[in-house]
């Protein structure tokens, strides 16, 4: 815990120093000093610190009933275009959401992109997975109104499975004359879920006390996304799909000791995952309207789904407000069980005191406990409503 807090303080101190020294502008470093003709390298970064407080359950972090600061994200990226039509970029990232992340630095993405023309390009390396409106930027607080995205679709704890993969992507934009244009992405690669990540946490939560998730494989994943940019300014409609093959989990299940059971026993299982997501976005003047629906098939296993509708309005340069309503069902066959659903009405206020500084305040009125994912920390769950407060500040350059 001491190491974790030291890392936290160090990251915040570095961020503050960068902001103070650089006036929070992006950095552009020319390489002429080392005798090259390469173009300059762009550096950008961000750091976010949040507070989570809830009325009845510990949600996202272990101790939100008393208020938790275990809600942090930071990233630094570099990019350049060294050759014609070629873009190179990489981002380092660390985060902490309760027990997930733990400030461990990870290579978030590192890719080379070659763009043949507007219609077709290819990208390889560790790439962000294009899915829906927010998956590529699930942890970039400054690129949205709310603190928490609708968690049934964009779970802050699941980024190790959803956010990126090691592989390749083909993309482009096809003009459709007066019908607008069609943007497409197709990708294939290996996801890299961690035993200590969000997926591992969910699996462990369903096991008897004393059990462990020993390893998770890197499932091969195939997917794609289409966006129809309609001829109506600001309106786009999207559909995404992916299939993860043979996602394997190796566990040690702590069964009750004899005479009731054999004690800890190794166990393994494998599943395929299918997922679809449909999206609608309309940007009109200072309004943003968004709605998405996602459905996931675990084979073998449940079918879960989630949806949300979101409205946000930018009043002026420094103030924006938004609200969304979202529902999540962990089993579409059991929509009436409060243990299996979570319904959330959120109201968000975003302040931009400076171009490089964002402050957010958000309230949640929640029914159901389907996304708590930590039964040991929430032994008594009922169908009553509960509340959550989220506060967050982000610095960027």
């Amino acid at each position: 815990m001491t190491t974790k807090h030291s890392t936290h303080k160090l990251v915040l101190a570095i961020t503050a120093a960068i902001m103070a020294a650089g006036g929070a502008q992006a950095y552009e470093v020319p390489l002429t000093g080392i005798n090259t003709n390469l173009p300059p390298v762009d550096f950008h970064g961000f750091a976010s610190q949040g507070l989570l407080a809830s009325s009845q359950y510990n949600y996202l972090a272990d101790n939100t009933k008393t208020g938790s600061l275990e809600f942090f994200e930071a990233g630094v990226n570099a990019s350049m275009d060294p050759f014609p039509r070629t873009h190179i970029t990489a981002q380092g990232f660390m985060f902490d959401v309760g027990d997930i992340g733990q400030y461990k630095p990870v290579l978030d993405y590192a890719s080379v992109t070659y763009t043949f023309n507007d219609e077709i390009g290819v990208r390889g390396g560790r790439i962000r997975r294009p899915q829906g409106i927010y998956n590529e930027i699930i942890d970039v607080d400054l690129a949205r109104t709310s603190v928490l995205l609708p968690q049934g679709i964009y779970d802050a704890r699941w980024r190790d499975f959803y956010a990126d993969l090691d592989g390749g992507e083909i993309f482009g934009s096809l003009p459709l004359s007066k019908a607008g244009s069609l943007s497409y992405d197709g990708y294939a690669g290996y996801a890299h879920p961690s035993t200590s990540g969000g997926v591992g946490n969910v699996i462990k939560n369903d096991l008897p006390p004393g059990s462990s998730v020993d390893s998770l494989n890197s499932p091969f994943t195939l997917g794609g996304q289409l966006w129809w940019n309609t001829p109506l300014d600001g309106v786009r409609v999207g559909a995404a799909y992916y299939h993860a093959f043979n996602f394997q989990q190796n566990l040690t299940v702590n069964l009750p000791p004899p005479p009731f059971g054999p004690g800890p026993v190794p166990s393994s299982s494998s599943m395929n995952v299918d997922n679809t997501q449909e999206s609608l976005e309309y940007l009109w003047r200072n309004w943003t309207f968004q709605a998405e629906y996602m459905r996931t098939w675990l084979e073998p296993g449940n079918i879960d789904d989630a949806w949300y509708a979101n409205v946000a309005y930018r009043f002026n340069k420094w103030f924006e407000a938004g609200t969304y309503y979202t529902e999540y069902y962990s089993n579409v066959q059991q929509r009436d069980n409060s243990l299996d659903y979570q319904k959330d009405l959120a109201l968000s206020f975003r302040f931009d005191p400076k171009p490089w500084w964002v402050l957010k305040l958000e309230g949640h009125y929640i029914r159901g406990t389907g996304l708590l994912d930590n039964n040991a920390n929430n032994p008594n769950q009922n169908s009553g409503a509960w509340f959550m407060l989220a506060v967050k500040t982000t610095f960027s350059f």
Partner: protein, 141 residues
Amino acid sequence: MKSFSLKLGLFLAVLVASSFRALALDGAVVIANSNVAADSLSADALKDIYTAKTKYWDGGQAIIIAVVPDKTDAALQQASGMEASQFKTFWQRLAFSGRGSEPKKADDAAALVAYVAATKGAIAIVPADAALTGVKKIEIK
């Protein structure tokens, strides 16, 4: 019901028609670095640049967008179809997902023109009364 369908149809027709209007930038002009081959762009081509559909000039030089915040917001909206805050968020999404680079920011029009003059592949929307030294003016058709 028939009346409602008629009104809905008219509404959609007006929306579609409005999306094909000719582009006129309010109090602003488009400039580019002198190494950019193009002397003119269609409104659609300009929008493709400002919405990241087109990221390279013919020949492969990366397009570098430069902006001067608050000075040309109306023209930027006309070029991109996005309000200033939406435009900023749009490019932040690309920059932090590894899919593009954020537009460069200048403090004022003179600094913006100087940046475009010195940077290969750069393009910018500047106030119409700015002194255009060392850059080429791009006609928007």
